[in-house]
């Protein structure tokens, strides 16, 4: 697909919008459909599109495998870490009320908690999807 100019230009044009849309879906997930799971998948789809059109090597220069692997683990760490932090603050595991800056409004802590937890989900899902895609796409390479 290296010669197809419409696909190449189209992919280059679309990818930033897909990434932007993923971030919108993530951060607007409190008010509209969306959240970390969907955003992670959409973000991964942007890189899959680029890899399909420009080849795996080109994309792995921007987003190396070690980075996506790290993302996959980091997200779970963020999620579990939020739980540990709330526990250290004297609440239950994943009791986000502990995160409120103003103790008279404990429900504000829920916003922070949900934002952080969704970030963890986003990072993990993105990392996992891209890692899995890299492995499937990269395996045929060393063969031929």
């Amino acid at each position: 697909m290296r010669e197809e100019i419409i696909i190449r230009v189209g992919a280059k044009f679309l990818a930033p919008f897909i990434i932007m849309f993923a971030l919108y879906v993530h951060f607007h997930g409190d008010y509209s459909p969306g959240g970390g799971f969907q955003a992670g998948v959409i973000l991964a789809a942007a890189f899959a599109l680029l890899a399909l059109v420009y080849g795996l090597e080109a994309v792995q220069k921007v987003l190396p495998l070690w980075f996506t692997r790290m993302c996959a683990a980091l997200g779970v760490l963020i999620f579990a870490g939020v739980g540990v932090v709330t526990m250290l603050l004297g609440h239950n595991y994943l009791g986000y009320n502990a995160l409120a800056p103003d103790p008279t409004h404990p429900e504000h802590g829920q916003h922070y908690g949900i934002l952080l937890v969704e970030l963890g989900v986003l990072v993990t899902v993105f990392g996992v999807m891209v890692t899995v895609f890299y492995h499937f796409a990269g395996r045929g390479r060393s063969d031929s």
Binding site: V25, V41, F136, R141, D143
Partner: protein, 192 residues
């Protein structure tokens, strides 16, 4: 009107499912599976599950198709004609399906607000979640806060699946192909 869209989409889904069964070219099967996912995403929207529809469209019709194509590129796309008679599987399927249909006779009808499923914790989520969590999307507040443990478990499962794929696919290929390989074909697109 909703019910008409619902029935049409379900009928199309049935047709797509049947086509999946019949087609033996696996590339066509993967494309049909993508269509099946997209149709079911439409159906989820009709049934008010917008978050689910969003996920299904992104996952089922997007990433999953790409992964299937990647696997087909590695494993070949020809499916043999099934060697044995389809009678026994057909019997098993018909009996199981019949039992399940018999089971639905006791289920409450589709869409009644009095159904028991709507009166366990759902009322609490809808009525109290804005005061307790403070965000309008009830699905997000249930997902991330009320059922945070559940979501954490799911995230861990997704991570574990990635570890599994890494273990399975990152090793060297078959020893006999290792000698000839190693050169690497730079930038060959996954065009199937």
């Amino acid at each position: 009107m909703n019910i008409v869209v619902d029935i049409v989409l379900f009928t199309l889904l049935g047709a797509a499912g049947f086509a999946l069964l019949k087609v033996r070219n696996l590339f066509a099967v993967v494309m049909l599976a993508g269509i099946y996912s997209l149709l079911s995403a439409g159906l989820f929207t009709v049934m008010d599950a917008v978050d689910v529809a969003f996920t299904e469209a992104a996952v089922g019709a997007g990433i999953s198709t790409v992964l299937f194509l990647g696997a087909l590129a590695l494993a070949g796309h020809h499916e043999n004609r099934p060697g044995h008679t389809p009678l026994l599987p057909l019997l098993v399927v018909v009996v199981t399906g019949g039992a399940l249909v018999y089971g639905t006779m006791d289920m409450p009808g589709f869409g009644h607000p009095e159904n028991p499923v709507h009166h366990h914790v759902a009322d609490h989520y809808i009525e109290e979640s804005y005061d307790e969590i403070g965000i309008p999307n009830v699905v997000t507040s249930v997902l991330a806060s009320y059922r945070g443990y559940d979501t954490m478990g799911e995230t861990t499962v997704v991570f574990a699946a990635a570890v599994g794929v890494m273990l399975l696919l990152s090793g060297a290929r078959r020893p006999r192909s290792r000698g000839g390989g190693g050169g690497g074909t730079a930038g060959e697109g996954e065009d199937g």
